[in-house]
Every structure is written in C-alpha cells, then in structure tokens.
Symmetry: C2
Amino acid sequence: MNPMSTQLIDYYAAEDKIHIATDCIIFGFDNESIKLLIFKRRVDPFKGQWSLIGSFVKATESVNDAAKRVLTEITGLENVFMKQLKVYGGVDRDPGARCITVGQYALIRIEEQDKTLVEKHGAVWHDLHEIPDLVLDHNTLVKDALVQLKLKASYQPIGFELLPKKFTIPNLQRLYEAIYQKKFDDRNFRKKIIALDVLTKLEEKDKSTSKKGAFLHKFNKEKYNKLVNRGINFRL
Amino acid sequence: MNPMSTQLIDYYAAEDKIHIATDCIIFGFDNESIKLLIFKRRVDPFKGQWSLIGSFVKATESVNDAAKRVLTEITGLENVFMKQLKVYGGVDRDPGARCITVGQYALIRIEEQDKTLVEKHGAVWHDLHEIPDLVLDHNTLVKDALVQLKLKASYQPIGFELLPKKFTIPNLQRLYEAIYQKKFDDRNFRKKIIALDVLTKLEEKDKSTSKKGAFLHKFNKEKYNKLVNRGINFRL
DNA sequence: ATAATAAACGTATTTTATACATTTATAAAA
DNA sequence: TTTTATAAATGTATAAAATACGTTTATTAT
C-alpha cells in the first residue's frame, strides 16, 4: 500500500471529474499563404465534422507530450516547433462532458510531412482564409493562435520554422507578408534581415522563380542565440 | 437518461484520471520593488510550506473563474488583471497524484487589498529577490511569470495595473525600473511616456517625495485602445 | 544581340532613440 | 525673509534606425 494518509487521498479526491485534452493548431506555409491542418473526424462525437487534431492526455504522458504524440501520429514529424497557446477551460465548451483543452500551436515545414500518413488520417491543409466551421470552440483556438503567431513572429524568428531549411530572402519576405497580411518594401526588408545577421548565405541559387536566381540561405541559430543573450530582440 | 449513446460515454471515459488545479502568481508593487504574494499552507499535503495560492478547479466553474475565486478569497479584490501563463502538465510534478496546474499571473494594486483577509489566510508579500523555497514546481511558475511580465510589459501597458489609479511619472518610472531591473534616464522616460499619449494629467500633486511635488496622472484606457486599434504598439 | 524580369544593391530623408544641461517649484533651514 | 536643497520638469544636440524610392545585375528566352 502506498504511504499516503487517508487525509491526503481525501485532498486529491476532493475536486470533481474533469477531462483534459490537448488540441494542435498546425500551421504550414507553401510560399503563398499560411495553411492550417485539420481533419474530418471519423468517430463520434462529431463524426464527419472538421476538427483540429487532438487527444485526451494520458496518465502516463505530459500535456506537451500528448500534443507531440498526436502531431507525430498524423504528420510523421518529430521535433516540431510547438508552443502552448492557452487553456480553454469553460464549463460548457463541450456539451458531451466537462472537458478542458490545452491549445498548442505547431509550425511545420509542409514539405517534410509524411504525405501518405496525413492523407490516411483524413487530414487536409486549408488556406487560412478558407477554414470551415470546426467542432466545439476550435475556430476560436485557430483565431487565437493566429494572433499569437503574429505577436511572437514580431520578436522571435519563429518564421524560420515554417520555411524549408534552405530558403531565399524573397521566400522569407513572402512568409512575413503572409503572416502580417501586408506588403513589405523588398529593399528595406532585405536590409533589415541582413542587418540582423542571423542568416548564412549559401553558394547555391534557387532559380525556380527567376532567370537570375536567388541565393539560398540558412537560418543560423547560434548567431541568433548570441543576439538574444546580448539582450537584443529581433523585430521586423 | 441523457441522450448520449454508450459509444459517447466510452469516448469520454477513455482517458485516465488527471486532477486539474490552478495556481496564482500574484504580483504587487510598493513603489520600490515587485512583490509576490504567497502563503504558508495550513493543511496537508505540504502543510507549513510556502506555496502559491491555488485550488482545484470545480466542475461548476471555468479554469479562469477558479483562479478569480481564490484571488478574491485571499485578497478581497475583484476584477483583477489576470492572464494565463501556461499549463504545467508533467507526469511527476506532484508526487501525491497526477495533477496538472494552470499557472495564472495576477497584477494587483497592493493598497487596494483587504489586509485583514490576507493576513487571516497567512499570506505574506515577499520581495522578488527573497522568495523562499516553494512547494512542488511553484518556484518555476514564479520565474516563468516574471519572464512573461517583462515581455508583456514591453508591448502592453500592463504596468498600470500595478500602480494606484493616480500616480506620478516618477512612480511609473520606478515601476518599470523594478520590472526591468535597470535605470532609465528620467528625461527620456518622461518624453517617451508622454509621447505615447495614454496619460491624463491631473491638477493634483503628490508631495510625498519632494518639496516641489509631482503631478498625478491617470491611465487613459480609451486613448490606449485607440492606439491599439490603429495598430500602434506600446514599446518602452 | 536584345528584351524581359526578379534579384540585389544604393542613397537621401524622416523619424525615433539616446545623451546630456538647465530651469522650476517648493519646504525647510538660516 | 532670504537662502538652500532637491525632486520635478523642460530643453537641445547628436546618433541610430526606419522609410521611401532609384539603379544595376544576372540570367533565360526571344
């Protein structure tokens, strides 16, 4: 028998049964617009309806691990950028039972996903401007995650999580234009990005969008960490 | 009987029992340094140890309402600024049982608290630099909340939540100096704050710290909201 | 060779941030 | 009642960053 006194058991038994889940707001970028990965539920409740990808949290895993688990199940990806958004803890948010959910947003490189796996689960990338009605309060989670993404992108270089490992400066600009929904001056954008000194320019060129071709770059995490440690903060 | 099918009941019963709590990281400011409100637990487990103020979430209340409830119980205050920090969902964070907690930080005007009530609960304000060892992972919650406070203070005027309704510009400066742990040039600080145009200058003066006296100001939320709506973001 | 075009580079102007000096209002001391 | 002391308030010159906009370059297709 475990050493806890009856008093302790009472303490932990005092509160009421609440189910705890986590839902992933999965963002991707296809060099045109921000995409969201959602799927059509194949089981009840809400069978056939569009939904974020989530799961109940198991007793044997942390909340964050639960989110990682479902993300890997669906996309085949590991070590994905993921951050807690917030807890949706309203009493009536799920008509079926008292369920709270931890919203977590993930940024993935679409081209690295396991396409077969994604399709197998009935998951589909939707343009952010064409998100259908989702189950429960999931549309709210998406809206909140987008606000968070915009905010976070303004002081941390999370944008790089959405681009291929190698990308051009125009690629990066298009990404930020998609995030902020506004055009940047290409000359000033380039100047600012280069001034940050967190990119490594490669010899290679990407000629898919122009005759001249654009040099590929890699994000230099070391340089970025040095920046942060010196107390300087990325701002676009 | 309720209309849910057995299948649905199974669905919601599928996951394992996890307890859900919320803990408040309560900050105050006494015109010198940032303070944290903690208390000595009077019941087991952890009886006699310092702890954040928290509670299990009841089936009849939202997660946010649970935090508001405990805050009001202890301080007598309502309508307090409070924001979710993050979920602490590790499997082993509580040795007694599988418990996850939602950390929420609150900013209160110390002088508005119900001092008797606070004392009755054994709660004590501690200088941020003199926080004792807390129960479970509560020291981590405090550390994380402080990072969040600094970050948030840099793009939203949450500082005003910690000051009395009427305050002087030197008061405000001392607050930001306490948050960022660095001195600002008083001439430039004043210039920036006034340029933001979110303060209303009153006729009244506070003469407690100088012969000349300093004009009292009020935070003008309307002007601030207009700023935000125009897409301009407060930055100190 | 020439045209077409995205990519890359450059420069002038405005705005904002920083560094530092001076004046002002007031209570208490001389 | 003048003088002194001091926080509060105002001012100004310089440096840095953001913005607006013009030009050159490398390459493929005509």
